[in-house]
Every structure is written in C-alpha cells, then in structure tokens.
C-alpha cells in the first residue's frame, strides 16, 4: 500500500520502530524525518516479519552525485599516456546540470593484461563512454573504470566525422569510409 502525501524536509514521518528508512529520510533521536521535498511512499516489506520501508521520492529528477559503484556516462576530453580525462554528464539515467570531472587511469581500462594497455587505442577525445566510479579520487576528479564488458565507448565519430558502429570489443567501423578504428567498446545492451 502506498499513501502519497507531499512532505517537506524536517517533517516527522513516524517512529524508528515503525518503519525501515529508505532514501529521502533520516533518523534523529529515534524519530524518522523527511530530508527532501517529495511524496511519502511506504512499501510493504518483501518477506514476513520485516518492517515496511518508508521513503520520500522527488517529483523532479533528483540531482545525483557520482558515488562509488554508480554507472556514469561522459565525454572524453583529453587523453595522455597515464589516464583519459572524462567530463561526467549523466549519473545513471539522470543527466546532471553541471559536468563533474573524472579520469580513467590506464590500469583501470580493462580487466585483462592491465599493463599492456595503450590508452590511445582505447579512447579518443570526443568519444562518449559509459564507466563505473571506483573511488572519490582526489580533490579534482573521480576515479573511473571501464574494466567490464558492458563499459567502454558507446558512441564515437570516425576521422571522417561519421558515427561508427562497434564490430568487436576493441574495434569500431566507420559506416561511410569503412575504415576500422581501435576503441575499447562497450558490449551493446
């Protein structure tokens, strides 16, 4: 059962022993409060004996921040032998208003033969990549990895400027000039 009512931050939703806290809520001296503006939703627990979980979901898209293990979409800005710089434009399904900076270090490009990776055979500036955040990294950029099959380049233009299609996990072909370029491609979903 889910009763929807718009709640605002700080509003009391119930006591700690009544519900399990879901996203958009927090507990302070054993009272559950809302932490964002949104509709209150109560989802009954999967198996018996468990408390139902209460959560607040926002109408508009929630500006999410890249967290460890979140899948992000970004555009490759610069490539140097040690890492590729990526502008993160979307975290999961939601696009973020401002770009965050991430880097894919050469040792995180792929899982196999880590030390024989030539990064310019994997990424080129302007490619759109899907990657996973592995650490908050340093003050300037998040650390990303494409060491899984469904991660890597998902859109690239050939030298001729035509969108290319992947023909293997490390090759993409230009539809017009049929030339093959090397990329670390993501397996099409």
């Amino acid at each position: 059962m889910s009763s929807s009512a718009i709640v605002t931050p700080g509003q009391r939703l119930g006591r700690e022993h009544q519900y399990r806290t879901g996203p958009g809520t927090y507990v302070r001296n054993s009272v559950i409060h809302a932490s964002i503006v949104g509709t209150r939703e109560i989802h009954s627990a999967a198996e018996e004996g468990e408390l139902p979980t209460i959560s607040v979901t926002r109408g508009r898209e929630q500006t999410t921040l890249p967290q460890v293990d979140s899948i992000v979409t970004g555009k490759v800005l610069r490539v140097n032998p040690r890492f590729a710089t990526v502008a993160i434009m979307a975290v999961g399904p939601t696009a973020c208003r401002d770009e965050f900076q991430g880097i894919i270090r050469v040792q995180d490009v792929r899982a196999t033969e880590k030390d024989k990776v030539k990064i310019y055979h994997c990424f080129r500036p302007g490619d759109v990549v899907r990657a996973q955040v592995i650490s908050l990294g340093d003050a300037r950029s998040y650390y990303l990895s494409t060491a899984q099959n469904e991660l890597g380049v998902i859109f690239a233009r050939s030298v001729a400027g035509v969108p290319m299609i992947p023909i293997s996990w490390q090759e993409m072909q230009c539809t017009k000039t049929k030339t093959v370029e090397l990329r670390k491609c993501a397996k099409p979903m």
Binding site: I134, S135, D138, Y143
Partner: protein, 276 residues
C-alpha cells in the same frame, strides 16, 4: 672548552685545524666560525653550536608525534613541527590483518580508512629524502594512531633525547615525549595493541575515561605547560617531580604564574638531587 661557552653568529669558535666542523658552524679560511647564537658543544674532535630555539631538525630513529595534514597518492603528509612536513608512506604502515598482508590495490583507493586529515600519529623517523623531508614509519606495534588524550606543544629544543619516550605517570596516564616538541598525554590503553583486532587498529573511537583519569591528564598537561613556560628541559624525571609537587594544589591553579614558579623550581631541585 669544558665550561659552556656562549657564542654569537660570526664569532670564531676555534682556529685549530684539527677540529672537525659540525652543525651551526661554517668554515672561513682556516677558522671555524659560529653561524648561530647558541652554546658550543664538543664531542672528541667534532665542534657544533646548538642554538637555543630552532625548528625541529630531527635525526634518524627519533620518536616523533605528528598530525596528518594531507592524504596524497600512496602517502600521507605529516606535520612534525619541522621546516617541512614529514612523509608517511603507505608501505611503511602496518595494515590491519597482521604484518604479512600484501598491500592491495584497494588500499590505495581507501587511504582515508587508515589515516585522514587531522589524525594524530606517533612514528619513528626512518630516513630523510634528499629535499630534507623526514620519512616516517609506524611498523612497530608501539607506534600508530593516537587517541584517548590531548596534545601539548613545547619548543622542540626542550625535549631531551632519552632511552624511551613512552612513560606512564600515576600508573593511569601515558605521556609520549615527541622529540619534535609535540607531547601526547592520554589515558593508558586498557587493551595492548597486539590484542586489538584489525579494524580497531585505526578506529576513531575513544575508550571511556573516568573523571579521575581526566583530572590527572589535565594536571600533567599543565605541568608540561609550566615547564615549557620556564624553558626547563623536559624529561620523564623532572615531569614526574613536577607532577608530585603540584598535587597539593588544584589542577587549574597551575595556570597562575606564582604556582608555576613554585612547582617548577621544586621539580628542578629534586631532579638535580637525583642526577648526582
């Protein structure tokens, strides 16, 4: 030169060519000239001039107390009250799960799980980089993260180099006399480091401290401040005597100048008697 001669910068210390030039002096023609204002010290043929107040220089093997200022790639920067921040490498720290665990990739990413900015650490100087920065290590179990207490800062030149820098006072309070002038005063840990399980080693949780222990820690801190205000060299003996001398007064009275005067003079007198 048995009695202690005091020299000012540019005074000729000796012109006898057989002497070797040490710290605080420089060569001019065949004379050894003092570079700092301080006391001349001579060991066999080596002549050095020790300045009264200076930032901590540091020797290999020194026990120092430091505060983490920055977390960088595979290393931590540590403020040790010296000209430059010391460096604690990830490889020179013992990792949870015993000594033999190999440093893994994830350790590099989760540096902050061990030490983060502001943490206090006791370590030993193991080497110097060529830019003069001190390289620290905490591989032995008596070194590592500090908790259950507070920090007292005194001029480094006051802390005398001695056999051990870990002492206990009134068998409930532990004092770590860092040679760099950082002194950590805390409650004696009930669990020895060996018995600590891995994730407790770097936990940021204090043990419960009774009021009595808290009062003792405060008294020891005030005694240290008192000795430091009167520029009296600090070692375990003079500190213990100062502590005993202060027992008949309330802890907070130790902030008043007259009380400081009385307690420190008595402590120095009793320490001098013991040394003869």
């Amino acid at each position: 030169m048995s009695e202690q001669t005091f020299v000012t910068p540019a005074e000729v210390v000796t012109s006898d060519p057989s002497f070797m030039r040490g710290h605080g002096t420089y060569q001019e023609g065949k004379d050894i000239v003092s570079a700092v204002a301080g006391v001349v010290e001579q060991v066999n043929k080596l002549v050095t001039v020790r300045p009264l107040r200076t930032r901590y220089g540091g020797e290999i093997g020194d026990v120092v107390v430091g505060r983490i200022t920055e977390v960088a790639q595979k290393r931590w920067k540590v403020d040790v009250n010296a000209r430059q921040d010391g460096v604690l490498l990830l490889s020179s720290v013992n990792l949870p799960g015993g000594v033999q665990r190999r440093k893994s990739e994830s350790d590099e990413l989760q540096m902050r799980k061990f030490f983060t900015e502001g943490d206090m650490v006791v370590a030993e100087a193991q080497a110097f980089f060529q830019d003069g920065a001190m390289s620290l290590h905490t591989r032995s179990l008596k070194y590592g993260k500090l908790r259950n207490g507070t920090l007292v800062v005194v001029p480094p030149s006051l802390v005398l180099r001695s056999r051990s820098h870990f002492h206990t006072i009134a068998n409930s309070v532990e004092v770590i006399l860092g040679l760099n002038g950082y002194i950590w005063v805390c409650k004696r840990a009930t669990k020895a480091p060996e018995e600590m399980d891995p994730d407790e080693l770097y936990a940021n949780v204090n043990e419960d401290i009774s009021n009595q222990e808290r009062e003792t820690i405060a008294r020891v801190c005030n005694c240290l401040q008192a000795l430091s205000k009167r520029l009296i060299p600090i070692d375990y003996t003079v500190l213990a005597f100062a502590y005993e001398a202060s027992l008949d007064r309330e802890t907070k009275e130790l902030l008043e100048p007259e009380v400081i005067e009385a307690v420190t003079t008595e402590a120095v007198a009793r320490a001098a008697m013991v040394n003869e």
